[in-house]
Assembly symmetry: C2
DNA sequence: TTTTTATATTCCATTTAGGAATATTAGAGA
DNA sequence: TCTCTAATATTCCTAAATGGAATATAAAAA
């Protein structure tokens, strides 16, 4: 049985940090060790695999072909190791915790209310929630780091299952002082003339937006600012020079209170669905079931 | 990012070896290190997880609840690490190797012919084959250690896909000097009176046999000997005091040449299917496709 | 170029790994 | 219950490794 030539997990951690930070010294900082230590870890790992795993390309550390494969295993294993740690903690303390991942927008607008309802009706259960990016949610579910996730786009990982949570729509909105604040509807042709504040590329609402724009043949909008939080976007809209596409659930309250104005676009709607996702091997989780129950009930009230 | 408290992979290897061999000293032997080293690895691992992972139960080392979880990750990771090593080798040498797992019986009787046909028609491709037990095949496929498998029972792992290869049957056979060597057919009632040489419990033919017997209400046969190889069973049958249930593909030649006699059993046949199995993520493997092609052609000739 | 920033080396103190010998413990058998 | 025995845990020691500080080297930026 193999023993002597096994790689060191800390080598995997080093590789991961170097790739994800893009530099050895940043990685060293994140890992709380010195830069030479990281370099040496990488060398040792390369020696263990007999292949060079990284190369400097334009000042950034990148993976070689072989490095890609090692990196994949490294991330998988480190994530699973973390999940295992947590599982053992839960086991020891006899607690039943639900580890929940949600997208940023859902976390900002829908989650607080849900958590409140849940903790009222199930004071004995515990939920640990994390606001993460869509891609990361898939990794977390796959590795067991998360038991359940609320997402704005369905995952494409083969082991992840989804069920529909609720319908949503991306709405074009502006602040009350914007020139269009009194318009009920505008034609599609006017969309390129507006100045936008949007979520960053790759975020779920942005991907949905870009897909919808491509469908109607619009390639690029005039994006004045990219922001990582819908709440921040709403603040930026207030002065009135920009508009944005935001999930209905995030702006519905502000629209009702006339803090934001919903500009309809003629013959253009971006419909979407919010999803509940979980790993196929993790379909029997008492806290998850209780939580989903709460979500469904809550939905009926709204 | 976690770094300092990561477990040592060699700890995982030690845990795995201890559990699979059932003792610390055996594990030490397999790992080519001393017994104290293994003990210390276990201690270190337990310290890292903050839980005791093993306990001595009746002289055998067993897993605690927490140990189970750690063991699972250990096996997964070590297998994947092995698969990764091999993948890197293939990558470096630019060769295309098919890693094939087959059950013992298939390996003894069907594989040699297949490999020959394959190497004749595809001299540029390479096949590494392993004879392993059914349960292990599933692990190998799941971890990527094997690309393709030929099995006597379909896997129940959710990520593994099967396609039918060929039909088979378990035949009751005896040597030419056995008292029943001239009988064409016997009643079911006579089955318990015979003395059997069978594959060991858990092997694919044995599981099929036991299931079939259960279906007709026969719980136990008189098993004189359990053997790990069908070839060995055939040898043991020669003197003529025992009978066995063996896959048709393993005995058809010997029956034709009158080295074995097939005893039909009235209203009792054990039909089975041989399967080609692979991982869902590994469905595009050129060598696998070429090999499956050979298997199909071969089948038509027989 | 020169400057600046990032990575690799070297050297050293410290820690850790594993072997040999030995103590301890847990089952088996009287 | 008390040996006896086989297995596991400890101890002690040497060899090997880790990671830090200082420094050399390499690669971008100016």
């Amino acid at each position: 049985m193999e023993y002597k030539n096994l790689p060191d997990i800390r080598g995997w951690a080093a590789l991961r940090a170097v790739i994800e930070r893009g530099s050895v010294s940043d990685a060293a900082h994140v890992l709380n060790i010195g830069q030479p230590a990281v370099t040496k870890r990488l060398r040792a790992l390369e020696e263990s695999y007999g292949e060079s795993l990284t190369e400097r390309v334009g000042g950034r550390m990148q993976l070689t072909k072989a490095g890609e494969k090692v990196y994949l295993l490294a991330v998988q294993t480190l994530d699973k190791q973390l999940a295992l740690r947590r599982e053992l903690l839960d086991l020891a303390k006899g607690r039943t915790t639900l580890h929940l991942d949600v997208t940023i927008a859902i976390g900002e607008h829908l989650l607080p209310h849900l958590l409140l309802s849940f903790s009222e009706s199930h004071p004995d259960f515990r939920i640990d929630s994390r606001l993460v990016y869509g891609r990361q949610i898939q990794n977390d579910l796959a590795s067991g780091l998360a038991d359940l996730a609320l997402m704005e786009r369905p995952p494409d990982h083969p082991d992840l299952m989804v069920q529909k949570w609720m319908d949503d729509e991306l709405l074009l909105v502006c602040g009350p002082r914007h020139p269009l604040a009194n318009e009920d509807m505008i034609p599609i042709a006017m969309l390129p003339d507006l100045s936008y504040v949007l979520r960053e590329r790759g975020s779920s609402p942005r991907v949905d937006l870009d897909e919808a724009l491509t469908r109607i043949g619009l390639s690029e909008l005039d994006v004045a600012l990219e922001v990582g939080s819908t709440d921040t976007i709403i603040e930026v809209l207030m002065p009135g020079s920009h508009v944005s596409f935001l999930p209905r659930f995030a702006v519905i309250d502000d629209i009702k209170r006339d803090r934001l104005h919903h500009i309809k676009v003629d013959a253009f709607r971006i419909m979407r669905t919010l999803w509940i996702a979980r790993h196929r091997d993790n379909i029997a989780h008492p806290v998850a079931d209780a939580f989903i129950d709460i979500m469904r009930k809550d939905n009926q009230i709204d």
